[in-house]
Symmetry: C2
Subunit: 337 residues, 2 copies
Amino acid sequence: MNRNSVTFQKRITIQSSACVGGALEGKGPLKDSFDLISSDSRFGMETWEKSEAEMVRICNEAAILKANLRPEHIDLTFSGDLTNQCCASTFGLKNLGIPHIGLYGACSTFVLSMGMAAMALECGLCNVALATASSHYSTAERQYRFPLEYGCQRTPTSQTTVTACGSVVLAIYHGKNVLVKEFLPGIIQDFGIKDANDMGAAMAPAAVDTLKRYLTARNKKTDDFDFIITGDLGVRGHQIFSELCEVEGIDSKNFLDCGKLIYQNDADIVHSGGSGCGCSASVFAGYLMSEFQEGKLNDILLIGTGALLNASTVLQKESIPGIAHLIRLKKEKSWES
Amino acid sequence: MNRNSVTFQKRITIQSSACVGGALEGKGPLKDSFDLISSDSRFGMETWEKSEAEMVRICNEAAILKANLRPEHIDLTFSGDLTNQCCASTFGLKNLGIPHIGLYGACSTFVLSMGMAAMALECGLCNVALATASSHYSTAERQYRFPLEYGCQRTPTSQTTVTACGSVVLAIYHGKNVLVKEFLPGIIQDFGIKDANDMGAAMAPAAVDTLKRYLTARNKKTDDFDFIITGDLGVRGHQIFSELCEVEGIDSKNFLDCGKLIYQNDADIVHSGGSGCGCSASVFAGYLMSEFQEGKLNDILLIGTGALLNASTVLQKESIPGIAHLIRLKKEKSWES
């Protein structure tokens, strides 16, 4: 098992999923997969930070409701986000009264949340878990880069932080379908990228490392799966990822990226595509879950990708390490029966 | 098991521990328990952020060495800190090449790290894990409160962020002694405290809730344990915690607090005592582990306490929720044999 993935012995099942998003996400190709869109991305709140926390609250309460449960039925939440000290998670979840595990994996957090929640279910720490992650364009931009009012021109390699939250309720088998089958934690990779507007390049090597370790350990090929779906490499990062995989002898023809799926391919608006914890969280909880339910997906690898930086590390000329966590999601036959 | 603690079925054993600290910690009553003290708290680096990352690196390499292992023998690290986006952990651990799980639990992070590492060992995700947490006075003060150069006068209830890192190597039984026996995740509690210089008061209700839930679920009393040791409530927070426990009918006579243990009781210098992830991490990895090894401790509850705020939430007049995670640490008889 050393440094390999864990295969969960219990049937860790996705009982429900929910996702909510902001204005730009509500105009994208996946708009119909969202449970709720805030047309001004404010979710009725006065500050962007409070908006993100409110988005987290709404999304998680929706996921609980969609599982026909109430907060008191949930044993444990796993959550993280990009705000300093993960305060969107804290303030979004604090009134639910559910035991809470805070995680930080940058934009890989949603996959980390699902992996850790599955682990908690596997070892009996809980019977029902909630896994979630969020990001908000307006909290992230002013925190990582420039004040929004400054109207800074963005570079072609920059990505657009997705305003969204995605949540899943996980439990040991209760007659439903999509299972969290395997989990492989990522190793931090630092290839010396220093441009905070080129995070796809910073994250791609970590995704390659994780995928390669997984395929080697399990003696699998990429075409054993419907798709290999990365979190938020974006147009440029996904191209780098695919090319690096080909160099390693890994076939990249069934690769997708949530950062490319979520927006119209309009480089003038979203540049290199979507990023942020909410990107893979909402694309999975909305679009990919509906694809599973419609029978279009059966077995995928979801690779959450994170760029490990803060505003100070960039100013202090540090490089931007990346990390990528992997989960395998598989629909079992009992779904059809 | 619902919302109760998990009792680990495997022998999750502490193989080694290490702690390093800064100048003030090197003058305190626990100074001899540190493996290394940086006399200027800089650990040879040019910026405070790089100093904290270097402290993390040194401490974790020391813990690995003290377990007679090399980094390639460690399957998984669990780590968090107080810097924005947990960058002290990222940059301190990035060159070890070990799969990494990032956590955020504010000052409760060390207990969270140990609990999650024990869970990963229990469910077979890894065979050897490293759990760590850090904080640095000079990175935390300027991030949460005021620039250091400003020389702001501090209030009597304020606490001193401990400059320290603590690490433990955990593995399934290999003939050594202190076991991580039980883990209970905390519920976020918000009692409306808004003073970022009174975090003890913000965290105390969470510690009460966690302890009460644990004792009720396990049908235990506090005098079933050698000590009930909180992370960093400080002088004022610990007094509130003890009083609230007495109101709940919980005997507080064997309560200790790492934030009170780490410094001389000199209110002019440290005010209400120590705080920060590094406080409980270093006091446990140094002083408490040596007390276990000398036979003075056999069975304790360690309650990591965290205040969930960031600089923006304070400016936006949000309250400061608290969280407290609990682990039970027990020396098994095989130690003597």
